[in-house]
Every structure is written in C-alpha cells, then in structure tokens.
C-alpha cells in the first residue's frame, strides 16, 4: 500500500525549535523526504547596525547574536578589530579571555545538553544541566555584573582583572562539574531509550559535512579534527595542551558524546590558564575615538557552535564600512535536510537539537 507525500509545518511557534524557526517537512510513510527551513523571524539587521555604530559600540551588540555564548561572540569581534588595527593585547588579558571563553563553552554545552535531552524526552536532565550552568553565570556576574549578554571583553583587552575571589569561584565550580557530568551520563549514555533515539540517527559523513560547511562539535562528531583553536590558534590557545574529542559515526549520539568530552577539555584549558596566569597588564591603550585606517580582515574563532568569524572592512572613520558575520548556526542549519532525509519524522526534533542552533545567531 502506498501513501502520498504529506507536508507538515513545524513552528514558527514550537517548543523544540529553540527560537522562532519554521520547518516545512515532507514525509512519505513516516520517513522524511524533504525539510525546508524558513528563517528570518528574528532578523534585526545586525550587519546594517554594525555599519552605523562605532567599533566600541558594536561589541555589546555582538552579544545578541548567539545569546548562549556571548563571550565567544565578543572574542571573535574584538580579535578581528585588533587584527585590523595591528595590535596584540598583553598575555594576561589573553589568558583571561581564554578562561572566560572556555567557561562560556561549558555553560553553553550544559544548556545544550539540557535542551537537547528535553527534546528527546529525558526531561530531568534539563535541571541537572541548568543548575551547573547557574554556577558559571554567577562567576560572570561576579566578574562584570551581568549574566547572559555580559559584554565581557573590550577592544584592546578585558575590562576587569581576575581577583582571588573569582579565581576561587572558578576553581570550586570546576571541581564540581565532573560529578555533574557523571550524573548526566548515568542518566543518558547507557539508557536504552536514549541510545535508540540517537544512535544511527541523522548521520552525515565527514566529507559531506565539509562540503555542506558544517563546523564545530557536529563536524568533529563525523571524525574531522577541525578546531580553530588548534588549526589557526588565537588568543594564546597554542600555550595550552588539550585534545580535540572526535566521533566516528557522525550521528546524533556522537554529537552528544563529543560535546560532553569537550567540557572536560575546556576544564583542562581553564586550569592550565589559571595555574600559569601571567602577571602584567590586562589591556593595551586604545584611543577613545577609534578610527581605523582602510583595510579588511577575516578572522574566525571556535565558538561552542562552530567556526564563528567576522569580516571587517574599515574606511578610515570611526565606523566600519562593512561587517559580515560568518555564523556557525546558519551554515549548520543548512545541513539539516541532508541529515534528516531518510530518517523518521519523529527524529527531526532530535537531529535539530543535536545541531545546537541558536536562532539569534542565524537570523542576525
């Protein structure tokens, strides 16, 4: 008996779309044959805004792209502008940036594991992940007073030094994370339902993933060791020893395993940075009215979601001529159809969750 292809709409208001996303899904006998994402519901014209703000005014605006990882957005922006200016900030400032970025990566992955498990139906994990993420947000609050869009970095350095109290908070939080990861793993990794829902689902090969432009943990789950922190090290990442966790099968389960393993690596980086925190200045002198000679740069970093980059073109005034953001979620989202084709309709939510998209970043 044969069925005709049926089309479904998922979103724009749907709890598992992580924002305002509309998917038009065509299914044939429960098997997905087409997935077409419609985006732009959150489009705020960020790139136009950047052209009309000074360089310093743009930094807090970048927080609003990927609102689960504002520090790495700041980092990508300030590094691009600093490269354009041709300055390098003091070592201590670079190390503080690394510490904050890696804390942000852990917070982002903890939020992701909660949302993702919730999508698949394991609801308690959300609270386990979020409780620990809360500790990291408290560190941010102690550091600069804000929790979510924290504007933690400045062009030319960082605004505050790490004092003994914050270092103590970071160390004690790091000490408690492995136990929490163990709890999450004991809830999920050997859970039969979890493995049925994730193993062999949404598979993409490494070669396909590169062709489609996939980056970040989702790409590394397909066995490709592409990590900008190692490939083109920035902000002193080459001072630290860490591994790049890789998957084998490129399925949803491997993406879960890779992200959990990345949390451990981030903790290792933070510990090394705290142990070897150099003395000295935390910022260089940057003119109050920042005018940059005409030029252009493209600089990318490894954000929790993948390769995040800024193209910045200056024209000699205090505002950029053009800013283009290369956002990882936008391109990762483009792979969704490739991953979903041939899978069950019920798995679309799991595959979408495993990509860890943030609509604020996709829609710019």
């Amino acid at each position: 008996m044969s069925f005709k292809e049926v089309e479904f709409n998922m979103g724009p208001q749907h709890p598992s779309t992580h924002g305002v996303l509309h998917l038009r899904i065509a299914v044939d006998n429960e098997v997905v044959s087409r997935v077409e994402p419609f985006i732009g519901y959150l489009h705020r014209g960020m790139e136009k805004l950047y052209e009309n703000r000074t360089y310093a005014q743009t930094t807090p605006l970048t927080d609003r792209l990927d609102y689960l990882a504002s520090v790495t957005n700041n980092l990508a922006w300030v590094l691009a502008v600093e490269k354009l200016m041709g300055i390098e900030i003091p070592k201590r400032g670079q190390y503080i940036r690394v510490i904050l970025s890696e804390l942000q990566r852990i917070a982002s992955h903890l939020a992701w594991i909660g949302f993702f498990a919730n999508d698949i139906g394991a609801m308690s994990v959300l609270l386990y992940g979020f409780a620990k993420r809360e500790d990291i947000l408290e560190i941010f609050e102690e550091y600069c007073g804000a929790r979510l869009t924290i504007h933690a970095l400045r062009i030319g350095g960082v605004p505050h030094d790490l004092d003994e109290k914050i270092i103590g908070m970071i160390r004690s939080t790091l000490d408690t994370i492995p136990k929490r990861i163990g709890e999450i793993e004991s809830l999920l990794t050997d859970n039969r339902i979890w493995r049925h829902r994730t193993e062999g689902v949404g598979v993409i090969s490494g070669a396909d993933a590169i062709d489609y432009g996939l980056t970040g943990p989702a790409l590394r789950a397909s066995g490709v060791p592409w990590d900008m922190r190692k490939d083109i090290p920035y902000s002193s990442y080459d001072d630290f020893e860490f591994d790049i966790p890789l998957g084998k099968n490129g399925d949803v389960f491997d993406r879960y395993v890779v992200r959990l393993a990345e949390i451990a690596q981030s903790m290792a980086i933070i510990r090394q940075a705290l142990d070897r925190l150099p003395d000295g200045e935390i910022r260089t002198k940057v003119p109050r009215v920042l005018k940059i000679e005409p030029g252009e740069v493209f600089h990318t970093i490894e954000s929790p979601r993948g390769e995040l980059g800024f193209y910045v073109k200056s024209n000699g005034t205090d505002r950029p001529e053009r800013v283009k953001v290369k956002v990882p979620s936008f391109i990762n989202m483009h792979c969704l159809e490739k991953m979903c084709k041939g899978n069950l309709f019920a798995d679309v939510v799991g595959i979408l969750g495993s990509l860890d998209i943030v609509l604020g970043e996709i829609d710019k």
Binding site: K48, D231, G295, F298, K324, K326
Partner: protein
C-alpha cells in the same frame, strides 16, 4: 610582496596562481597576512574550481558582498563579491574577489561547494545581486514581497516609508 620566510605556503600559492592564470589575474593584495586575488567575473568559476581541485581548498567559509557606492576608487563598479576559501587540513586561507556593475549577475559556485547555497541566497536577499545558476534563488531572511535590499548603502537606517 609576500615575505616567503613568514608565509611560504601563501607565496607558493601566489606563484602558482600567476603562472596558471597570468593576465586573468586583475590584481593581488596581501594585507594583514591575508591574500586576496582579483579576477574578472568570467574567470571566477575557473579560478575557484582550480583552487579547489588542484590546491586543496575544500571549504568555503563565506561569501561576502560589498556595496562600493561611497568608494570613489571603485570606478563605477558598484558591488564586490569576496569568496573566502579555506583549506583543511593544513589550514590556509585565500580570498577571491570580483567587482561588478549594478545589474550584473555573478555565477553560482553551488556546484563546487554546497555551503554556497544559503550564502548566495543571503547575498541576493541583502544586496539584490543575481546569482546565475543557483538552483533556488529566493530571499532567505526577508519576506518574498519585501521591497529593497537593506545592506545597500542607499537603503536608509530609519525613516523609510512602508
């Protein structure tokens, strides 16, 4: 132009580009350690497919469009399109640039990189640059009936009549 002791691979690449494409290369810049190669629109596909097949540039980072409206040096060529290519493993970046007048179309590189799909749609959406050979060229962020192209320099930031 490129300091070979600091950037041996980029210097080699530039040599290969000039010997392979000769006068088709309209210009080369090397600033802030980034190499940009300018070609005519007609040579774009040949250049990028050669970079991909012979030089291992297997990933397209991004496609960046520029509006040169306020740039007197652009010589009436209203738009520029930059193709930011990346090689993995053995990381290396190169940027290919084309300049085109208003109303001209750029060839699609979708056949070479699948990641060009949405990037070209975004360029069309924001700048109104037509992409020849794209399988499904539609707006991506804005509604289909939206009038105007917001990232053009003559599109006002506020006060536009609806």
């Amino acid at each position: 132009m490129i300091d070979r002791s600091r950037h041996p691979e980029l210097a080699d690449l530039l040599e290969r580009i000039t010997s392979r494409f000769g006068s088709a290369v309209r210009g080369v810049t090397f600033e802030k350690d980034e190499l940009t190669v300018m070609v005519a629109t007609d040579d774009l596909l040949a250049m990028i497919s050669w970079l991909k097949s012979e030089n291992g540039f297997n990933a397209l980072n991004d496609i960046i469009a520029l509006d040169n409206l306020n740039d007197p040096a652009a010589g009436g060529l209203r738009f520029s399109v930059l193709y930011q290519l990346y090689r993995f493993p053995r990381p290396l970046r190169v940027r290919v640039r084309i300049d085109l007048p208003e109303g001209a179309a750029v060839p699609s590189i979708y056949s070479l990189y699948r990641s060009a799909d949405w990037a070209e749609r975004e360029m069309y959406d924001m700048f109104g640059i037509t992409v020849q050979g794209h399988p499904d060229l539609r707006r991506i962020y804005l509604p289909d009936d939206f009038d105007g192209y917001p990232l053009r320099k003559d599109f006002p930031l506020a006060g536009r009549e609806q």
